[in-house]
Amino acid sequence: MNSKEEVFAGAKDIINQLAVIIRTAAIHDPGNIAVTSAIDRFIAIVNPLITSEGEVVLELRGEFFYLGEARIRYSLEYLPNFDFLIREFKKREMGSIVFKDVLKAEDMQSFLKVFISSVFSSSPFEAITEGMNDIDNLSVGKLRKIREEKVEGEVDIRKVVKKSYFNAVSYTRGVINKIKSGEKVSIKKAKRVVESMVDMILEEEQLLLGMTAIKDYDEYTYHHSVNVSILSIALGQRLGLNKKTLTELGLVALFHDMGKIEIPNEILNKPASFTDDEWNTMKRHPFWGVRAILRLRGFDSTSIRAAIVAFEHHINYDHSGYPGTKKPLDLDFYSKIISLADQYDGMTSSRVYSRIPMPPDRALSLMMERAGTQLDPILFKFFINMIGVFPVGTLVMLDTKELGLVYQSDAMFLDRPKVLVIINNKGEKVDGYIVDLTEKDTNGKHLRTIIKTMDSNKYKINLAEYLL
């Protein structure tokens, strides 16, 4: 009997091979040997699974494929083909594919023909289903919106996520205070806190990312640490890092600003801009971070990574940042991820770098300009995919003349998030209702589209009131 692990290892290969077939079929004639042998290989993987499981259902939900109810994990070498297949599915609004009985090469051939030609149709999914009437052992389903059936339970999930988020912040605050007073801290607990964040991100990524959008806490330093950790884990997940690595990344991110414990609170929490001297003090925090981490933990594999990140997170991809070094350092992978998360969270708050917070979408477009210079351009692509073009908390005007706040980004359509409307189309304040920008009317036209973005800080709009 197949063990569950084997089934999942196989699932990864099914996705991979399906992508290979579609790629090859797009450039070769269906009868070409390259295509037929790819199909044969595919069938050889799928059929044993059909025999043991009855049928094989592959479903695209958000950015991930599922086999039945379980998400198919992949590692980076599979990413090109996963990514390709996701795009090909989305283009056709196709969400699932089901294989049953015994799959034959002819079934795959006919499917490929309609699948490839459907891209030219105005309603591609319908074109596929029509063309597939006479295929017995293969069927497709339309792209479903994720969790549309779960609206009722959502309130509770939000509560759980919120609790988890505040636990992490409160834990971080406790730890930093302990460190300041010279007490020993247990890394076991830190690990547990990060592990529960990793779980949350695997399951409720968007909700947890939403928690990072609120910026006006008094003790922002602790929130900043947790936010950077969350954003880094979420980015790491997109890169296919495994759970254990995500934990390490999250842990390292949580302590990236450790060096700030040596900066006097008067400077750290200063409401006005820094003097040159104060800036120079601030710029020492990478050094102090290395020192604090190594003093606290000594050497082990995690503390080595943490010290490196503490030192490098302001150096920048093009080495334009600080501290300067004798020889340019080849930046650590974690440093690159964490400095993206750090910049984003820092820019959108009023306490980290600048005293004037930037609206999230502005921060994002600024970061886009920096991609390739200060920021790693490839990782930035992943970052924007994760956070959406209009990140949570962005104040937006819709073409329906409704004004609202981005509430949750949509994993499929980056520019079509869910929006919490706070002023209706008559210009009246309302209690807040959520609209989904992916919704279409009967003619296939979107009901609402974002036309403008604005700075919520300028109008003293309190996000917490709406999002918490």
Binding site: N167, D216, T325, F333, K381, Y459
Partner: protein, 547 residues
């Protein structure tokens, strides 16, 4: 009241787990008891799954429940399975039918980890989480992780309170009509090249990161501006050495010290900084560092000769004493061999420190030190060695005599000659062998004189034979003459003893391949004495064969 069958089966599972927890600590994986423990425990799970599809255990501080039935109770702190789970926040654990024997083994390993070890950063929940068991589910209460229970409520209230009475929503709404429209943010899809680069980056992510951290630590040195900064750097470098030593990674240790050396040699570095960096070199040879080396040498980790030699180059003479200390503690032969090689290399720098090892209370250490001094071949070492000639342990004496012979200076002869008169035959033969190694004319005459000695002639045959054998090193006339004379000699008293000596002479002449001796040997072969006959016969064969 009778227990229900399924509850009984659940109790059996718990008992089996308790038993397995003990057994896993006792037996290594290759012990048959290890496999049997797994099988027995698995059978108990199997029996439970005959009744139900999943076994859910609710965990309290001192109790475990299956449904509402208590299946475990223990108020003690020691060996309390309930508490073991409970303390890390585990409140429920369930095993699903389909739980495989491999999963059980992994699970039992988690039960047996020594969580109190300081270096371990994992608790039970972390390990369960990392393993991602398909057929084990669990519920945890994270409350104990929370530092401040009220934080959530306070923080939320605080941010919400910041809302100004009259936010300017209406103004925002009006402004919105004046704002520019959104620019189309197009997301460039990932190219294959992007992904290829990422894959490479990820590969690099698994490399050893110590080198990078070292670069950073040296960077800290270059930018240091206080004594405290220098002290930190030294401290971290020492820690890094300790860390790599603990992991048996001598190559990294050597790399750390190499880079320290490069930095010391950098003209840009200040004298002050150099002074501090030199502390790192002394740490490398400190008791702490050498002890760690000893631990991993003894653990059987193999070290390439090249790496070990590279490492040795950076050690200074302060390492000699710590090496002598561990030499007496190491259990494995290859480990001791490495330490001996290290001491041979280091001892050259400071024979005096090495010689202190001759006063070690452990005879085997003294013997090793003698061997080491002998290998170094420093003539100055003789005076230290001479002091151990009268050591209480015969094994030491034998070694020192041998070493003295190898050193072969004029001043050892007297001592070696005295040893020829020792009451212990082992000492006497060792001394003779040592003299044989010296090969000088003086050494020769000492032995010659000895074998001529009337008392010596009465010694045991094997000892005498040994002495004669040593004489064969000198193929000089006086030796040959002496041997021939001995072979010819006749005695009416003590004839047996005399024949022994003749046999020895025959033996020696044979070894020397002296054909002039053949006539005498032919004659001796006809002797009534069996010993003489045999030895003459062998000698003849040997000489004739060589011709």
């Amino acid at each position: 009241m009778e227990l229900l069958d399924d509850i009984k089966a659940a109790k059996d599972v718990i008992n089996a787990l308790m038993k397995a927890k003990k057994a896993f600590r006792m037996y290594p994986e290759n012990n048959p008891m290890y496999a049997k423990t797994i099988e027995d425990t698995y059978a108990k799970f199997g029996s439970f799954f005959d009744y139900r599809d999943d076994l859910t255990l609710k965990i309290k501080q001192n109790e475990i429940f299956c449904d509402t039935e208590q299946v475990y109770f223990n108020q003690q702190k020691e060996d309390n399975l309930a508490l073991f789970f409970f303390k890390d926040g585990l409140r429920e654990i369930s095993f699903k039918k389909g739980f495989s024997i491999q999963e059980l083994e992994e699970f039992l390993k988690i039960l047996t980890v020594d969580y109190d070890r300081e270096v371990l950063d994992d608790d039970v929940v972390t390990l369960l989480w990392e393993r991602d068991f398909h057929n084990i589910r669990y519920v945890v209460d994270e409350a104990f992780l929370v530092e401040d229970e009220d934080y959530e409520v306070e923080a939320v209230r605080e941010v919400k309170d910041k809302a100004v009475e009259t936010d300017e929503l209406t103004r925002a709404y009006e402004d919105a009509f004046k704002e520019e429209g959104v620019k189309d943010i197009s997301i460039v899809p990932l190219s294959d090249k992007d992904l290829h680069m990422l894959v490479k980056e990820l590969e690099k992510n698994n490399y050893n990161k110590m080198d990078k951290l070292l670069t950073i630590i040296f960077e800290m040195l270059y930018q240091a501006d206080s004594k405290g900064d220098y002290e930190d750097v030294v401290h971290f470098l020492n820690d890094a050495i300790e860390y790599s030593m603990k992991h048996g990674d001598l190559e990294t240790t050597t790399n750390i010290i190499k880079r320290t050396k490069e930095t010391v040699d950098d003209p840009a570095i200040s004298g002050e900084a150099k002074k501090y960096l030199n502390l790192v070199f002394s740490f490398l040879g400190s008791d702490t560092a050498i002890k760690l080396l000893g631990e991993f040498l003894d653990s059987g980790i193999e070290i390439e000769d090249r790496i070990f030699a590279d490492y040795l180059k950076f050690l200074d003479k302060n390492a000699i004493q710590p090496f002598i200390t561990i030499l007496g503690e190491l259990k494995s032969i290859p480990a001791r061999k490495n330490v001996i090689n290290a001491l041979i290399a280091l001892g050259k720098k400071d024979i005096q420190s090495l010689a202190k090892g001759l006063y070690d209370s452990r005879w085997y250490v003294v013997r090793n030190i003698i061997y080491i001094i002998g290998k170094i071949g420093d003539k100055k070492a003789v005076e230290y060695l001479l002091k151990t000639v009268n050591h209480g342990d015969i094994r030491v004496r034998k070694e020192v005599i041998k070493a003295l012979g190898e050193l072969g200076t004029q001043n050892v002869l007297q001592t070696l000659r005295d040893c020829l008169d020792d009451s212990d035959w082992q000492v006497r033969t060792s001394a003779a062998r040592a003299l044989g190694n010296v090969r000088s004319a003086a050494a020769k005459s000492i032995i010659l004189r000895k074998v001529l000695d009337q008392d010596f002639r009465k010694n045991d045959f094997n000892e005498k034979k040994e002495f004669y054998e040593i004489l064969s090193h000198w193929k000089d006339n006086d030796v040959v003459e002496f041997l021939m004379k001995t072979l010819k000699s006749r005695s009416f008293f003590n004839r047996a003893t005399n024949d022994e000596n003749r046999a020895c002479a025959a033996y020696c002449l044979g070894l020397m391949g002296n054909k002039d001796a053949l006539p005498l040997l032919y004659k001796a072969r006809e002797s009534n004495n069996k010993l003489l006959r045999e030895y003459s016969y062998t000698a003849i064969k040997r000489i004739e064969h060589e011709q």
